[in-house]
């Protein structure tokens, strides 16, 4: 290995650092006798901060160009860096938000932190995967950690059931994905995503080879749909969201979505752009079904976590509208606009989801789970500030300006209309109208109803500040969305 080769490997420095630091955190935890695990959590936060700085450095140093290292296994590009940065924020927020909740339930053990950090490592590997092999390794690392996290509350039947479902369905979807990958490998003879794209261009011209590719593609899309959580591969989401401890639900509902998005981009946009016509049709069906089922079923839920689970399904369907608007009749003019809209939607969604579960965690106390609709009744009386934060989050999820959620919807709808999918856009807005109802119901409960009991939720100060910052960030992004939109656009433009 020459010196220069060694230097190029430094582009994977954030991953390398995270692996080493997590091992250290694990050791530190052994010596920590503290109930609230202050030392462990502080070292985890420090690890994330260093990851953040390293990623910013690598991003700065790469000057926006793409580098494929480790013999074509690992890609370092702007989109990867941006997604990783948001992942750090999400994981760091998850740690901050869940400390009190987990401690009060005796679940704040060292494994929680370690598993979370290792799953983050898995996400980062997924995000930067340049080969089917790395992609799958990252996916499995992430998923296995998440299964264990969901089952963390081992005395709870609901949690165990959720973990079991998650594991079985997750394994099935991994199998589907793997089968799809093997088909593509069989057709193209390579595992490298960029080489797959080159071969597919050649193969797609011949009808027999094309059929073979599309056959593999179907399995890939099904596997992806499982991971992103869109209809009809959504069954695990409501159970896992409801069954897992709220802090874990928050983790499952945020950063892994970004990794799944990255997987979709790597496989479909980077790997099989030649088959865009085929996978766009599949995504259109998935998107429509998700928006319909997600929004309509969410209305019937009385459990907030379950409601947010269906809302996730609907949101992921909406996000797919961006992914499926990239290529129009073989023309890629709209691609950058559409994919960057989807990326923007994803990032905003993760911030909203983080905040919404954060408020639930904030309102939970020892012996009291804030998870049913009536548990937020009269929040405006007992705690007006966090009722306001939740109001911003709910209107943002519903896509009402001036919150960030509106611009996410605007960007995606604009991409769809540009691609000539006007009727799909009309269907999407009609379903999001239905969706507005259940978000409004939360606002109604908080503002118009009297509280069940007048106990005022009090979280730790750092938690409160972080949660407020989260809500205000969505308001601020609603007033000045340009910087993040520009970043997303650059991230997508430098993809190829």
């Amino acid at each position: 290995m020459t010196y220069l080769e060694f230097l190029s490997h430094l582009r994977a420095l954030p991953e390398i650092w995270l692996l080493v630091a997590t091992s250290v955190v694990m050791l530190v935890d052994l010596y920590s006798k503290d109930e609230r695990k202050r030392l462990t959590l502080a070292s985890a936060q420090l690890t994330l901060l260093v990851c953040f700085l390293l990623t910013v450095y690598v991003l700065y140093e790469s000057e926006g160009t793409r580098h494929v290292i480790f013999n074509g296994l690992f890609v370092s590009d702007v989109m990867g860096h941006v997604l990783k940065l948001v992942c750090y924020v999400a994981v760091s927020g998850a740690l901050l938000y869940s400390q009190q909740y987990m401690a009060e339930r005796g679940l704040l053990r060292g494994e929680f932190v370690t598993l979370l950090l290792f799953s983050l490592l898995g996400m980062m590997v997924m995000i930067s995967a340049a080969s089917f092999l790395t992609l799958f390794l990252g996916l499995e690392l992430m998923s296995l950690c998440l299964y264990a996290l969901v089952a963390l509350n081992r005395d709870s039947a609901l949690s165990t059931e959720a973990a079991m479902k998650y594991f079985v369905l997750g394994a099935l979807s991994s199998g589907l994905l793997l089968y799809g990958m093997s088909m593509i490998y069989g057709a193209t003879g390579t595992l490298n995503i960029y080489e797959v794209a080159d071969h597919a261009r050649r193969l797609a011209a011949a009808p027999t080879d094309r059929t073979f590719l599309v056959f593999g593609l179907v399995f890939l899309v099904a596997g992806l749909a499982f991971k992103i959580g869109v209809v009809p591969f959504h069954m695990w989401i409501p159970d896992v969201y409801q069954g897992a401890p709220t802090a874990v639900t928050l983790i499952v509902g945020t950063a892994p979505k970004l990794a799944a998005f990255a997987m979709a981009v790597r496989l479909l946009v980077n790997g099989l752009p030649e088959l865009a016509h085929d996978w766009q049709q599949m995504l259109a069906l998935l998107a429509l079904a998700s928006m319909a089922l997600g929004n309509i079923t969410a209305i019937a839920q009385s459990n907030l976590k379950r409601m947010l689970a269906y809302s996730t399904i609907a949101h992921m369907g909406f996000m797919l509208l961006g992914l499926l608007s990239g290529v129009v009749g073989g023309n890629r003019l709209n691609a950058d606009v559409a994919y960057s809209a989807a990326l923007f939607y994803m990032i905003i969604y993760v911030l909203m989801s983080l905040g919404a579960f954060g408020v639930l965690l904030y309102c939970s106390r020892a012996g009291f789970e804030c998870e049913n609709l009536e548990d937020v009744k009269g929040l405006n009386r007992t705690n007006p500030w966090f009722a306001f934060v939740m109001l911003v989050l709910m209107f943002s999820l519903a896509g009402i300006p001036p919150t960030a959620g509106f611009y996410a919807k605007l960007a995606v709808l604009s991409a769809a209309v540009n691609a000539g999918q006007v009727w799909l856009a009309v269907a999407a807005v009609l379903f999001s109208l239905i969706g507005a109802f259940y978000y409004l119901r939360v606002v109604k409960l908080m503002y118009f109803d009297d509280p069940k009991d007048a106990t005022r939720a009090v979280g730790a100060r750092g938690f409160g500040v972080a949660l407020s910052a989260n809500g205000l960030a969505l308001l601020l992004l609603g007033i000045l969305p340009q910087p993040l939109m520009a970043i997303c656009f650059i991230a997508i433009r430098t993809l190829n």
Binding site: F395, P401, F406, L410, A411, L413, S414, V417, V429, L433
Partner: protein, 493 residues
């Protein structure tokens, strides 16, 4: 700069009022919140006055224009400006805000900070709707109004407030979302521009124009509201607190009609001409049928709400007969209705604060105990019925003249409103105010206090001034209305 101030002064003041966290009416913080709100409202009104005095009536284009790049990625601009059509609404809105702050002074005693904060935020946002010249900016303000209004109806409203608030929100959201798709289509076709003025000159085939017309129609018809999508209005009005009803009637209803003038007419002139029959028919149904519905109402707020639907029918009728009388009459009617309906709701509010009932049957003989109030209400009832020398007359007369130019029968049906209007308003007035004292509660009523007197006087002056000498109001419109009519006359296909 003036328009920016007109938008952001109330919003900043509203945020400050919210930040006081005032809750109980008697507390010191509540006092602070009230004075802060009043200061914000007065300051907000003062900065709009130079808009009128500095307005060049010869210029049909947009004035006081501000343009800064806002979201570069989508070519969205922070683009503000007013013409003769929108100018008066900015003034009206800022003026009404002051009255609302004063009217709620002693009657709101729970969550005072949130009440005033919501109204001031809404005032700023509404100014934004009328001043925005970029479609996305317009949409952001147009939708943003929903949030404070939803909260106002839901927290301070009557017994059925939650139903009304949700109905209001979902109805208006349905319309707006379809409009959003229409806007995105225009964005795509205009080569990536959200500037409303660019869309005015964009050629669009007739079939597409019609589809877009319906996209916009849903948004605006719900807000106007036109028959048959008006059903949210009586519920929202009846359940809203007095201040909420005033803003709803005086300003929010104008958003829909304003949208027709700003978007539908100039952007889709061919579709508008082609579908004018539909709009005229819906307007006539609103005028005649809703006029009859109004007659049988037993709840005063509901009655005024239905009469608003009927009056707004006049506005849409005026716009879609495409002559200067009609369009100007419609605009004058909008301003006049802003004053008159605000005054009527405030009058009902005065009674409601004392008796806690809105039912006509619970009243009778109020004149015996509240003579000053009876006099004011007389004036506003007359204006609502369209009596000459009040503002209500000018707009209706102009629209009927315009309708006469188109067809005698059209004018005849439209003119029935003068009969219905007089019937339902005066009949209600008679049952509430005249006669013997109906019950002991009415016998104990106290007449207007100084604050109520001041608010009603301000509105009475406006109603009379506009009725006797409407020129200051109409002269600013002439240039822009003529420009608009010339624009509509030319085909864009």
């Amino acid at each position: 700069m003036l328009l920016t101030l007109a938008i952001w002064i109330p919003i900043v003041a509203g945020a400050a009022v919210l930040a006081t966290g005032a809750n109980e009416g008697g507390s010191q913080r509540a006092g602070l919140a009230r004075w802060l709100a009043l200061a914000g409202a007065v300051l907000g009104f003062l900065v709009t006055i130079p808009l009128y005095t500095g307005f060049d009536v010869q210029n049909a284009g947009f004035q006081f224009v501000e343009r800064h790049l806002w979201i570069e990625r989508f070519n969205i601009w922070y683009h503000l400006g007013v013409d003769g059509i929108s100018l008066l609404f900015v003034l009206l809105n800022s003026f009404i805000t002051i009255l609302i702050v004063i009217a709620g002074w002693s009657t709101i005693d729970t969550r005072v900070g949130q009440y005033y904060g919501a109204f001031l935020l809404m005032s700023g946002i509404l100014n934004g709707v009328f001043a925005a010249l970029d479609a996305v900016l317009f949409y952001v303000f147009f939708e943003g109004v929903l949030i404070p209004m939803f909260i106002i109806i839901g927290i301070w409203g009557g017994p059925n407030r939650v139903y009304a608030a949700v109905k209001f929100f979902l109805y208006t959201l349905l319309g707006s979302l379809l409009m959003l798709v229409a806007m995105l289509y225009l964005y795509d076709k205009s080569g990536g521009s959200f500037a409303i003025t660019d869309w005015h000159t964009l050629p669009i085939p007739l079939g597409v124009q019609k589809l877009l017309f319906f996209g916009f129609l849903f948004a605006f018809a719900v807000k106007v509201p036109m028959w048959p999508v008006h059903t949210w209005l009586p519920d929202a009005h009846t359940e809203a607190p007095t201040g909420g009803s005033v803003v709803l009637a005086a300003i929010l209803l104008k958003l829909g009609a304003y949208g027709f003038v700003r978007f539908s007419l100039p952007i889709l002139p061919d579709a508008c001409r082609d579908l004018a029959w539909l709009m005229i028919a819906l307007s006539l149904v609103a005028i005649a049928y809703i006029g009859l519905v109004t007659l049988v109402q037993t709840d005063m707020k509901r009655l005024i709400a239905y009469s608003s639907v009927s009056h707004m029918g006049f506005v849409t009728l005026g716009f879609f007969i495409f002559n200067a009388y009609g369009v100007e009459g419609g605009l004058v009617q909008m301003i006049s209705h802003g004053f008159v309906s605000a005054a009527m709701f405030l009058c009902v509010g005065v009674l409601y604060d004392r008796m806690h009932t809105r039912m006509i049957g619970d009243y009778g003989g109020v004149v015996n105990t509240m003579p000053k109030f009876a006099a004011f209400m007389m004036l506003f009832a007359m204006a609502n019925a369209g009596l000459p020398a009040t503002s209500g007359f000018v707009g209706e007369f102009l629209v009927i003249m315009g309708a006469m130019q188109v067809s005698f029968w059209l004018a005849l049906v439209a003119a029935t409103t003068l009969i219905w209007g007089a019937a339902y308003t005066l009949w209600m007035y008679k049952r509430v105010i005249f006669g013997a004292v109906a019950n002991s509660h009415v016998g104990e009523l106290k007449d207007l206090n100084a604050r109520e007197f001041a608010v009603l006087t301000a509105l009475a002056v406006a109603v009379l001034a506009m009725g006797v000498y409407p020129r200051p109001f109409t002269e600013v419109m002439h240039g822009s209305v003529n420009g608009l009519l010339k624009h509509i006359a030319a085909s864009k296909t």
